[in-house]
């Protein structure tokens, strides 16, 4: 028989997992790009990879402290944003989409290639960079928590840091989006020529937005690798599309949308995979092997996203009124 308790508790664990926080932060960065500024960035996975590798390489190869490694990652993503933005932000929106998707793949392949194996670890990736972060942990050793949320001191430390960063990023984004800066950014999304005609340097604003959202993605990439190892195959384009799915699920130009979207996404994903695996074991789906069943959850997520786009196109937190005027 199916163990429903295990399925639900496994799903509940995802609610506050660091991976959920990482996806929420990356989606918030994408909300700044796509939801507020109208920049079609399809390379968020590239920004996350730079964060992960920037942090890991500067710790392992150069012995940087945690704050130094974080700064290296953010510096790398700023340079990446400048390289992407300088040639494309003057052009139409679609060019940025093409260039970012290609650039993110270039970044991933550079980290995968054997040429730099000594530094990047090639396809095997990197591990053993968590010492510095764990060393900052003020929580005494032991297991804490209740029910499904019972972790050791490192896991709690990681969750607290990850969600604090997400909360700060939300506050920051909320504050700048209600300021005159945010007004210019939203104006650019609507019609950049009109904003230009009002004396705003549109190019500079788009660049600021690209750097800011990219930096969010980079920090998300660091949070993402703290509970696991750095593996290049994690940064495929599908990562970007999952983040887009989260963003659309929550609402593209909202602050809480990416956070709640990420929670819903991961809880549903975990629920589906737990349910299907056990349903196959229990013989409920006789025509399927357990390997096939492992892939089915992504199909179900795809169906769920299609349903959202059809029946709630503005997302969970989006403003229905905005859709009344879609061109």
């Amino acid at each position: 028989m199916i163990d429903w308790g295990a399925i639900f508790s496994n799903a509940a664990v995802e609610l506050i997992s660091p991976t959920t926080a990482a996806y929420a932060l990356a989606a918030l960065g994408l909300a700044i790009h796509f939801g507020y500024t109208g920049l079609l960035n399809f390379g968020q996975a590239g920004f996350m990879a730079l964060g992960a590798y920037g942090f890991a390489i500067s710790t392992l190869s150069f012995g940087f402290p945690v704050w130094g490694a974080v700064l290296v990652g953010i510096g790398a993503s700023v340079i990446f944003a400048l390289i992407l933005g300088i040639p494309t932000l003057r052009l139409r929106a679609d060019y940025l989409a093409i260039v970012t998707i290609a650039a993110a793949e270039i970044v991933r392949l550079l980290f995968t290639t054997n040429t730099f194996q000594a530094i990047t670890g090639s396809a095997n990736g990197l591990s053993g960079y968590k010492g510095g972060f764990a060393g900052l942990n003020p929580i005494p050793e032991g297991r804490y928590g209740f029910g499904p949320f019972e972790y050791n001191e490192y896991d709690w430390w990681l969750r607290i840091v990850a969600w604090s960063i997400v909360a700060l990023a939300c506050l920051f984004t909320w504050q700048i989006m209600r300021s005159p800066w945010g007004r210019v950014i939203k104006g650019i999304r609507e019609d950049e020529d009109a904003v230009r005609a009002l004396g705003k340097n549109v190019y500079s604003y788009k660049m600021q937005s690209l750097i800011l959202g990219g930096a969010f993605g980079t920090i998300a990439g660091m949070i993402f690798v703290l509970p696991r190892a750095v593996v290049p195959s994690n940064y495929q384009t599908s990562l970007t599309f999952f983040i887009y799915a989260i963003l659309l699920l929550g609402g593209a130009s909202t602050i809480l949308g990416p956070v709640i979207g990420s929670m819903v996404f991961w809880v549903l994903l975990s629920f589906f995979s737990g349910f299907i695996a056990r349903a196959v074991e229990a013989g409920w789906i006789p025509f399927m092997t357990s390997i096939q069943a492992g892939q089915l959850r992504f199909i179900l997520v795809g169906v769920a996203i299609m349903l959202i786009v059809i029946f709630r196109p503005q997302g969970i937190f989006g403003n229905k009124k905005e859709l009344a005027f879609v061109k």
Binding site: E190, D193, A194, L198, G199, K200, Q208
Partner: protein, 304 residues
């Protein structure tokens, strides 16, 4: 800033704007914009080829001409939205050529668009506030701390309400701009341009697609700009409107300035009739009946 400075039926015309004969490229007493040798080609087509043109300060100048005459292209060039092949121009004595559009706007030369560009998913108020210049809160680092910009924001809001009241849009201030009618969007675009306190307002077909009931109020707003000391340059097809409010008319055809002058005089200019002939020879060009029969005579003669 009041609503009653200009009577709506008989606008006061500025006269004596030019020096010497009213011919293409003639000198003005007090030009705000002077352009020299401006040309722009699209492939094999020379869209704009203007030797010399001056826009008089403090007056309403109309830029007219048949479709494809290069009026909007000239507008785009002068405002930095397009780059010319050759040419230079100055605005209030400062060279503008090659300057990006946002810097042109900051110098006090703002424009509107033929196809209205209201920022649909921003409220009417946000549209207006976007027009204000020199906002501290538009800097990312100051944006984080509201005390840097709150005071300025309040002042801008008060000014925006003031302008919106004149344009009778104040009741709509919290609605999305996308919910406005076409004519209201034109008004909003003009109101938004005023937020930047411009010295030269360039309107690209302000009357296109506006319902006749709103036309008169739009005309009054344009006349108000002049009475507040702004210079207006506008592109228009409606000759009635041109005759009604313009102090000076510049006629373009096939990329060149073919005639200039007082609106009543210029419509009798053979070059203008030539420019419109073939396309518009049987249409009312907006002359009054007496002048019109004369006009028709002129065309008939030309046809013979």
């Amino acid at each position: 800033m009041s609503n009653n400075t200009v009577p709506s039926n008989k606008p006061i015309k500025s006269t004596d704007l030019h020096i010497g004969e009213a011919e293409p490229g003639c000198k003005k007493r007090d030009p705000i914009l002077v352009a020299d040798g401006v040309s722009r080609t699209f492939g094999g087509l020379k869209a704009v080829d203007v030797d010399h043109v001056e826009i008089p300060r403090g007056a309403i100048t109309a830029l007219i001409g048949p479709n494809g005459a290069g009026k909007t292209t000239l507008f785009n060039l002068l405002t930095g939205f397009d780059k010319p092949d050759t040419g230079s121009w100055t605005f209030e004595g400062r060279p503008l050529s090659g300057m990006p559009a946002f810097k042109v706007a900051r110098m006090g030369q703002v424009r509107t668009f033929q196809l209205t560009k209201a920022l649909g998913l921003l409220t009417v108020m946000d549209n207006m506030l976007l027009g204000a210049k020199g906002q501290a809160g538009e800097n990312l680092f100051r944006a984080i701390f509201p005390f840097f910009w709150r005071k300025q924001e309040e002042a801008n809001k008060a000014r925006a309400i003031d302008i919106l009241e004149r344009f009778k849009l104040d009741a709509k201030k919290d609605d999305y701009a996308a919910s406005l009618s076409g004519g209201q969007r034109k008004l909003l675009e003009m109101a938004r341009a005023l937020m930047s306190v411009p010295s030269l307002v360039m309107l690209d077909e302000p009357m296109a697609g506006v319902n006749p009931a709103l036309t008169q109020s739009l005309l009054d707003h344009i006349l108000n700009l002049k009475s507040e000391g702004m210079t207006v340059l506008f592109v228009e097809h409606d000759m009635h409107m041109v005759r009604h409010i313009a102090d000076w008319v510049i006629v373009m055809a096939e990329g060149r300035v073919v005639a200039e002058g007082d609106p009543h005089e210029v419509m009798r200019n053979p070059a203008v009739i030539d420019a419109y002939l073939g396309q518009h020879h049987d249409e009312d060009l907006g002359e009054d009946p007496a002048a019109e029969s004369e006009h028709v005579e002129a065309i008939k003669e030309l046809l013979e």
